[in-house]
Amino acid sequence: MIKYIVRRLLGAIPVLFGLSIILFAFIHLLPGDPAATILGQHARPELVDAMRHRLGLDLPLWQQYLNYVGDLLHGDLGRSFVNNRSVVDDFFVRFPGTVELTLAALAFAVGLGIPMGRWAARKPQSFSDGFITVVSLVGVSIPIFVLGLSLQYVFAVQLHILPASGRIDPRLQVPYTTNFLLIDTLLAGRPDAFVDSLRHLVLPAIALGSIPLAIITRITRASVLDVTHEDYVRTARAKGLTEKRVDGRHIMRNAWLPVVTVIGLQVGGLLAGAVITETVFAWNGVGKWVVEAIEAHDYFVIQSSILIFALIFLLVNLVVDIGYAFLNPRIRYS
């Protein structure tokens, strides 16, 4: 098992190496001179030269690359072109918002998708199965921004039961400590603010979670149906076990395996989807930060956020694979 984890960790190294090259190229092969871009079109040449020197752009490419990797290993992602703030610092201010949103969306997708998939699998070809199939088809076909805008219109503009955008009502004035608002509000002893931030979370989480919800529902349904036809399920029934036990212990324990893999794969989609969701709902997270950076041509921020998202994605997949191995004795003991 430990061997397996080590092997998986070693396997990530070439990917990280490749990633660093691509992201390095992203900045250094940019059309135009980054220094000139930072300073604007009409900057004086000597200022541009000074900037080039400061950024290390006058060094040979290989040395620039080594510096870049060295900085990365020290946890230094550079400074924003635009406001000269540390990218890492800004990232950690924004990141909790994205984590909150992503986890809420994942909880929505998993919490609803697995029961729906099991329900659909219970009676294949029935009305409920057909209904769930259609819901999951629409789920994968409706873009986040279309769903998000529709939810905003119905629940915020028309019904006024949920807030349309933002993470919390700014008038509530909660002190930020962790930047996880659900935690900060509790730390501040403000249940009203906690509920308010929770209410702000509902619509974005649904919009972001709809695609994973559809995918998890489908895979759960298929997986449960597959396992239901396995010989060992018949064995379990032949032993005189109750249906509840056959379902919970013999079917679900096996049906989980592909579902877990798919849940892991959704994390990448959720992070990418967060970029759009945060834009729709004016949600202050990494995604919105990236979009602002694109508008401002703030390349270090774009580069770094792509790097961090990829790191998170790799890490989550590693965790999922290890979790899978724990659930599946055929891998655990080999």
Binding site: V15, L19, F26, L137, V140, S141, V291, Y299, A310, F313
Partner: protein, 300 residues
């Protein structure tokens, strides 16, 4: 006489169950019986028809403003209402289909070509080349979906060609993985072993026996990718990374505009929103149908 009677029956060649007319014909027969896939095909047909004949179907000029009040609600003259410049929303959605269709098809085709080549080389040649190509693929796969496209457009600058490249590059590694995967599993298939045992050359084995069979998975993936591509293109447009000319009728860009007027003119979400959903549903349904038709074992 006795000997003749002794034979219990004349030897009879077993009739093969509905003589197979080849993989593709059989798949077509199954596809025609697959109702969801036909619904999908109908959605796609509408989408393609509108894209092709937008200038004849639409009653107005997509860029001509001031057709009425700005943000005029839907009426008999303007079924989907007017936008912020008083342009006909329905006309713009029809013209938007052209961009979505062209960008979607081109980007998926390019992605399919690049990814297919990489996958075929990796899965066909194997060894160190396979390892290197798959590592590179892994790097691209590590960057989540549309984020890669966003990065590429941010890097290359705005423009339709750039969007096509971005979506193609985001899709290519997926295609490479799929093709390589099916080639690897086919390598162990009995009919390939059989072909190898009668001395088929490596190239012939790959081109004649393995690729045609591996292509089925790729075709399914490409169909489903068209749905994603249309959504991604609109997503880029929504993020302000659409065509550089803000007047271009593009579904995602139109939705961004409608965000600004969500309270005043909520109907502006509907036309482009429904257009995206219908075309995505079409390709998703067709993709699922193709999967079931091409691989009958999956059918339950």
């Amino acid at each position: 006489m006795a000997t003749k009677a002794a034979t219990p029956a004349t030897v009879r060649v077993p009739v093969e169950s509905r003589a197979s007319r080849g993989l593709w014909r059989d798949a077509l027969v199954r596809l025609r019986r697959n109702r969801p896939a036909l619904v999908g095909l109908a959605c796609i047909a509408i989408f393609v028809f509108v894209a092709f004949f937008a200038p004849w179907l639409a009653q107005y000029d997509p860029n001509k403003g001031g057709l009425g009040k700005t943000f005029e609600p839907p009426s008999a003259a303007h079924w989907a209402g007017l936008d912020k410049l008083g342009r006909d929303e329905l006309t713009r959605v029809m013209y938007g289909a052209r961009i979505s269709l062209v960008v979607g098809v081109v980007s998926v085709t390019v992605g399919l070509t690049i990814g297919g080549l990489v996958g075929a080389i990796a899965g066909g040649v194997g060894g160190r080349i396979d390892t290197i190509l798959m590592r590179i693929t892994d790097v691209f796969l590590a960057i989540p979906g549309i984020l890669l496209a966003i990065g590429i457009v941010a890097w290359l600058g705005q423009g339709l060609v750039q969007i096509m490249i971005a979506v193609a590059v985001a899709n290519a590694p997926i295609f490479a993985r799929i093709l390589r995967g099916s080639l690897l599993s086919l390598r162990e298939a009995e009919f390939v072993t059989a072909a190898r045992s009668v001395g088929a050359s490596r190239t012939r084995l790959l081109l004649r026996h393995m690729l045609p069979n591996a292509l089925t998975a790729l075709i399914v993936a490409a169909t489903l990718a068209l749905a994603t591509a249309i959504i991604d293109v609109a997503g880029l447009g929504f993020l302000g990374l659409g065509p550089p000319d803000p007047r271009t009728a593009e579904w995602g860009t139109m939705l961004t505009d409608s965000t600004e007027a969500l309270r005043r003119a909520p109907w502006l979400i509907f036309a482009p929103g429904i257009a995206i959903v219908i075309s995505a549903i079409g390709f998703n349904l067709l993709g699922d149908g193709l999967r079931e038709s091409l691989d009958p074992r999956l059918k339950r």
